[in-house]
Each structure stands twice: as structure tokens, then as C-alpha cells.
Point group: C3
Chain length 337, copies 3
């Protein structure tokens, strides 16, 4: 149980109500009970505020009049909610040491405070720092280095010599350091271009389930500090992603493209290879990026869906644009006479 005051202190908010009031968990405005804390940040949900049963609601000052019970007033309720959720849901402690079913090569250095779970494989010359958690079924190939307090959930593959920073969080099915797609056409036959670079991942990086990050062809693929990657993202060889850039699921980035810092890239975006994207660029979902971007701002492409008959008609019109332009030109000529 946490008191209103404890939580307010933790998130730097102002108490409105009884500071000794207690809650035990988090709920949405619609579903929360009196022993739960909730929050309002998206205006879309404002309608649920008046009738919420939540014992405490985290709100912006402008909304506090509508809170039926206790409140904590903050500048940014979403950030405050994130901090509250971390306070109320501490990470479960894993048992330290190496599970008896794990297979760890004798040449690897595992810090005694690290946790190596069941069925893990750690090959030779791997270095695991303190408080690292390697979940069940993970495979770390030769020479991998994992920084302090980084957690890998389960069934993750980290290939040869990949380096991962501190405080990382890697979700199941992720593959880091598989070969980049390097092939050369030798008189009609594709031959392999060995991928001799590696992958270097900064601190505080989160990587979503089944995302893949390829190793570099010669130099390394590089992921900056504070980068957050969602699920099923594909990052080609020698891509560079700047600090604090976030990328939503199913986006693909082709080889050697450089993405700046503090970019926000939507889901299902496709980015061609060998481009440079400057800092502060946002891309909306399913955008098709074929050229470098040198100016911060929001970029978009794609035509949203419509009823199928309309779609058919519009695709036909699209293919007739060239002729339509000619017809307009003819009319213009006619009208000039």
C-alpha cells in the first residue's frame, strides 16, 4: 500500500485531499476502484473523470475541479503516471547466479550478481556485467559484452562480438548481430560478402519483440543512448540511430542509413538505404522514405483506405492523370487563341 503523500513526493506533485489515503495499484479512469490510483492525460478520456471511482487521480491543475476524490496535481500527468507505475510495480527480483541447465563457456566472465536463467547458452569470451539478467532460452555467441543491469527476457539471440550498454531492456525473439544482407553478383551467381563489422548498442535502450538489428559489413551498426525500438523492426547493416530516437513497430531501415537524434518514427515506415535523416524528424505511419531529409519536421506518405469501389475508381483516375494534364493543356491552348 502506498499513501497519497508518498506517491506525490515520488512524482513531485501537489497533494489535494488526505495525504494518508492509501492505494495499492493502478487502474484506468473507467475501471479503477477506490483502492486504486488513476490519471488523466489524454483529453479523449476527460469524460470519464467526473464519475471515476479511483481513490486518487493524477491530473493537470486545469482538471482538478472535476476530480471526485483525492488528486495529485502535476504538470505532465502521463510522465507522472509512468513514474507512479514504476513505484507501484517494482521489477521482480531474479535469483542471482547461473541456473544448472544453462550452458556457460568457462572462458566467459559472469558477474556474481548477474542472473543466468534456465536453458541459456553463453559461448566463449562473453562478458556479463553486474545485475544483468539473461532470461530463459537466450543465446549469447562468442565475445558478446553486456553492460550493467541490462535485462533480456527470453529466447533472444545476440551474435558474435555484439556490445550492449547499461540499463537495456530486450524483449523475446530479438536478434542482434546476424549478418547484414551483403551479396555481390559474380557473373550471374550471388556470392556472400562476409559481414565483419559488429553492432554497438548504447545505454538505456529498449528493443521490442522479434526486432532484428544486423551487424555491419565492415564498420559497426550503431544504436545510440536512450533509443526505444518497438516490435518487429528491421535495421540493416551499418545503420546509425542517434540518441533518444524512438521507432514504432514493423518499420524497416535499409543498410547504411543514418538517423539523427530525437527522431520519432511511426510504425510500418520503410526507409531506403544510404540516406541521412537529420535530428528531430518525425515520420507518420507507413511513410515511404526514399530521400535524405535535412530539415526537422513531420513527413508523411500513403493514401488512407476508402470503400473498395471508390478505391478502384481513384486508382483508375490516378493512372489517367497524365492524359488529364494533356487535356487541360489543350484547353489552355484553345482558350489562349
Amino acid at each position: 500500500m502506498w499513501t497519497l503523500k508518498q506517491i506525490a513526493d515520488h512524482i513531485g506533485g501537489v497533494v489535494k485531499g488526505d495525504g494518508t489515503f492509501q492505494v495499492n495499484s493502478i487502474g484506468t479512469l473507467q475501471a479503477a476502484t477506490t483502492d486504486q490510483i488513476s490519471f488523466l492525460s489524454n483529453k479523449k478520456y476527460k469524460k470519464y473523470l467526473v464519475d471515476t471511482n479511483a481513490g486518487i487521480v493524477i491530473v493537470h491543475e486545469s482538471m482538478v475541479v472535476d476530480v471526485p476524490n483525492h488528486a495529485i496535481i502535476v504538470d505532465d500527468p502521463y510522465v507522472a503516471y509512468a513514474k507512479t507505475a514504476s513505484l507501484l510495480n517494482p521489477t521482480i527480483e531474479m535469483s542471482k547466479g547461473i541456473h544448472p541447465t544453462a550452458s556457460v563457456d568457462a572462458t566467459s566472465q559472469i558477474h556474481p550478481s548477474a542472473s543466468i536463467a534456465a536453458q541459456v547458452v553463453i559461448e566463449s569470451d562473453v562478458e556479463i556485467a553486474e545485475d544483468v539478467i539473461i532470461g530463459p532460452g537466450c543465446v549469447l555467441l562468442r565475445g558478446v559484452k553486456v553492460g550493467k543491469a541490462t535485462r533480456m527476457t527470453a529466447n533472444i539471440t545476440i551474435c558474435e562480438s555484439v556490445q550492449i550498454g547499461k540499463n537495456g531492456l530486450i524483449h523475446p525473439g530479438v536478434v542482434i548481430g546476424a549478418d547484414g544482407f551483403g551479396i555481390a553478383n559474380d557473373k550471374g551467381t550471388w556470392i556472400k560478402v562476409p559481414q565483419i563489422g559488429s553492432v554497438v548498442i548504447g545505454d538505456d535502450v529498449e528493443i521490442g519483440a522479434n526486432t532484428t538489428i544486423d551487424r555491419g559489413a565492415i564498420d559497426n551498426t550503431t544504436i545510440g543512448n536512450g533509443v526505444k525500438l518497438d516490435n518487429q523492426i528491421q535495421i540493416g547493416h551499418n545503420v546509425v540511430i542517434g540518441d533518444n530516437t524512438v521507432i514504432a513497430g514493423c518499420t524497416g531501415i535499409a543498410g547504411s542509413t543514418q538517423i539523427g537524434q530525437n527522431c520519432i518514427i511511426g510504425g510500418g515506415v520503410g526507409i531506403s538505404g544510404h540516406l541521412e535523416i537529420c535530428d528531430g524528424v518525425q515520420m507518420s505511419g507507413m511513410s515511404m522514405i526514399t530521400k535524405s531529409i535535412t530539415k526537422p519536421g513531420v513527413y508523411s506518405s500513403g493514401i488512407p483506405a476508402e470503400p473498395v469501389q471508390q478505391w478502384h475508381r481513384n486508382v483508375i483516375r490516378y493512372r489517367q492523370m497524365d492524359k488529364l494534364a494533356d487535356r487541360v493543356k489543350q484547353l489552355e491552348t484553345l482558350n489562349k487563341k
Copy 2:
């Protein structure tokens, strides 16, 4: 070996020919031999009917005159073929019990009729019902519950507290219950929003290889009964998918979107977050869905490929549409005078 009559009884069809005639397996119309049964449902393949060597063909009554050998007449040959294939290819029995290389926590309850394969990891407080099959290399984290007769093929990861219903079929590489993509920007730094909801999956759900379903932020992500998901689908946190909806491969659904019942969603579709899609909606492949849909029907987007020169030309014309519209307006003004 199965007789014509046995199969006809199983699928509720009418025998045409010798009920004692026997077949041992299924083949396509083109490749089947006389000891095989085939079917015709797609008119595209009608041309192969007359010359087929198949000993038996499952057909609609309207086609039966062209069957060279024995036939079974049914209303829906595709459904009848599906049932025949199940009859002729029963699921292989797995040995019951826990494989000696599996790592199963003592607090978990495994029904004695369940099969736990090699290298599996089952953490604490997991509940496995009768006749469940957990294939090699699967990892079930704390508190997972799996309903009767659900099968997991291999190398699947089920995260903390996820609940899976009865008669499910989950293919390799699937990840259920990894953290949703929840981050909040705290004065320039992205901080994690703990994902404290779970995933609840109904009965009779099939989930294709390498598909990922994220756990909810506060409430659960929910997959209805009879839902069928193809490979490499990404389902964000708090998505709700209604009963009997089917989704083809590579589709991504962003967080908090609700999909109705009996929807049919094509491959490579992208659906934005926080939308509501009503029952009975169909989306064609690669559609980009950015708004809620309140009316059943077929929705589409995307312009099919064309030869590269034409594509270049059309993209240029597309970018000139605004000017073209202005030119038309000018002509109209001119012609009004």
C-alpha cells in the same frame, strides 16, 4: 486406407461411384494418383478436372459430370476438403509427461496428460491443463495459464501471467505478452511506462510464426474466440480483437485499437492506434487504416505497381495535382465570362 463411404459420411457428402473404393492420401487435381482423393473448389482449377487421375474428387453437384472417377458431392468442397484432410492426417501423438531436459518450476501445475518437450522452461505458478502440448524450446514465464488441448510447436515465448484458452495452436517464434511500447517524454528523456496489464486469448485461436502480441499498459490486450492470425503480425498493447476475426501475415495494429467480430484483414495492412473497427469489416492487402470504421464492407488503399518509368511519371503528376486543379479553375473562370 479410407473408403469412399467412410469419407463421404465424415464430410456429410453424397457418394457417386463405388463406396468401397479406397484412398490413402490427398493430392491436387494435377498430381493426384488413383489411390488419392482430390477436390475442386476454385473455378480456376476446373480445367484440370477432366484429366485428373485422382481416385475420388470432392465436388459441387454442378461439376460432378466432369469427374472421371469416383466423386463425393457436397455443398462446399473447400470445407469438405478441410475435413477430409483432418481425417486422413490425424495429429501425431506426443509422449505425455515432462522431458528430462525441460526445466519446470516446482510451484507450477502440469496436468499429467500434458506433454512438455525437450529444453522447455516453465517458471513458477504456471498452470497447464490436460492434453496441452508444449513443444521444444518454449518458454513460459511466471503465472502463465494454458487451456485444455492447446498446442505450442516450438521456440515460443509466453510472458508473465498471460492466459491462453482451449484448443489453441501457436506456431514457432511467437511472443505473447512482451511489454507494449509505452514511453513518456520527461523533459527530453524517454522514460518507461510499465506495462502492467496482460494478454487474454480465447479458445480455438491459431497464431502464426513470429507473430507478436503485446501485453496491456493497464488493462489487458484481448484476442477473442476463434481468431486466426497468420505469421509476423504485430498487435500492440490493449488491442481488442473480436471473435472469429482473421488476419493475414505482416499486418500491424497499433495500441488500443478495437477490431470487431468476423472481420477479414489482408496481409501487410497497417492500422493506427485508438481506432474502432466495427464487425464485418474487410480490408484488402497493404491497406492503410487511419480512421475508425463504423460500416461493414470492404476497404482498400494503395496503388498497385507499374513499370518504373510510368511510376516516375505518375508520381510527378501526383505532386502537380494542386497546380492542375488551379489551372482547371482558371479555365472555368475564363469560360464563365
Copy 3:
């Protein structure tokens, strides 16, 4: 260390400089030191040639005057670089035999020269040829056959009866032979169509991380010799891919489509089911292929991203095309009078 002459002989190039000069590794033109060899194939990087510190540069004859140190002259510097990289970075030898933590069924035949790593599962009736490497955490289900010298990195799943040729290279997270997406609607309920075909993969095939290849419904899914697949590709049941075709990441191919030989398919492409794509077709990234292609050449679709305001405006114009065409028609009628 390798001498200039050794490398030149290996790649069939002409020495320019001291044939006894030695290098130990490969570097890019920008970063290479004097004990490294580099290459120039992409004209974009020509500017770095004059100032490179690389001890040796592999170049085309036309560029050799600008090489500051030693050179090897070849017709195709990229192919020559690929061969040099293979020479200087030989595949690491794996210890032969079966790791004690692997679980191998007694009915399977493992060639004594093969390497079966930790935590591998090999079910019954599997055949592993000479020099095959099965990396940590891989699962091979019943009846799989793997040809000579094929390597699987880690955490790969090969399902029942799949056949893989010689000299293959399969990256982590790949799933081959999971059920295709076969369902039939039986009066409102989706029932499963058993997938009784398999997957047959030719020789010299590379398959990227987390790519999935489904087994056939009745006949097999077939991948030709020399095919190269990047990461996170989805290949549906009964797809046929011709020899030497290469496909970039995140592309999806729906069921029963046949792709010819020597095709080059970009990333994020979506190809509908039941199509025929002839030999020698190229598709640019994110193309939407909805019809068969009978003529070799380059095909494209998709409108590249633009600043968001422009995008909004263009989407509106797109939806007005029909009306615009009507207005042009009216003007034409008016002008004919």
C-alpha cells in the same frame, strides 16, 4: 597476415606495387590503416580514395591513378572485395559432435563431422549430413533433412519433414515449415485446413533473421538454388521461388505465388497470392504487386513521403480527381460548342 600477391592471386587481380606488402584485415577507405586493405566500387566514395591510408586498395583500372599506396586492379571491385573478405575472415571452426546439453533422438542420423551445439533439440528421423553446423537453441522437428555444410546460427526452428540443401546459411529466429494460413469458413466458424505439404529448400540458400517460410497445403513450398533472403520476410504456403532470386527485408509473399529466376525484390514489398512473376523481374521497395508480371523489367509503386501539410493537401486532391476529371470534361464540351 596476407601479402598483396596472395590476395591478388585469390581474386584474379593485377598487382600494382610491392607484391610482398602485407595486410591483416579490411577497412573502409575512410577508416583503413596501412595494415589494412580497402576497395572502391561505389562512385559515391571516390572522394575518399586520394587520402586513404589503406595499404592496399582494390580498384577498377580507371581509378588506379588515384590510389596513394598499393593497388589490385580488377574488373569488379565489389566482387573482388567479397572474395578478399572471405579469404581474410574464414569461418570459425566449430567443435564437431553433439554437445552434452543437446537433446537428440536416437533414431536420427547425425554425421560425425557435424556440430550440434548446446540446448539443441533434434527429434526423430532427422538426417544431418557432413559438416553441418546446428547452433545453440535450434529445434529440428521430426524427419527434417539438412544437406552438407549447411549452417544454422541459433534459435532456429525447422518443422516436420522440411528438406534443406547444401551450403545453406540460416540466421537466428528463422522458422521454416510452420503451417500455412489455411482456413475454411464452415457456416460462420473458421475450421483449419491441415497443411500436409512441406518445404524444400535448394543449395546455397541464405535466409535472414526471423524470416518465416510456411509449409505447403498439399504440395510443397519450394525455394530454388542460390536464393538469398534477407530478414523478416514472410513466404506463404506453396510459394515457389526460382533460382538466384534475391529478396530484401520485410517483404511478404502470399500463398501459391510463383516467382521466377534471377528476380531482385526490394524491401517491404507485398505480393498477392496466386500470381506468376516471370524471370528477371525487379521490384523497388514497398511495391504493391497485385497482378502477375509476364515481362522482365523494373516495377514500382508507392508515393514517397513529403512534408505533412503537402501530404494532407495532396491526399485531398487525390480524392477530388474524379470531380476534377468531370470538370475538365465539362470544359471540353463547352469549348467544342
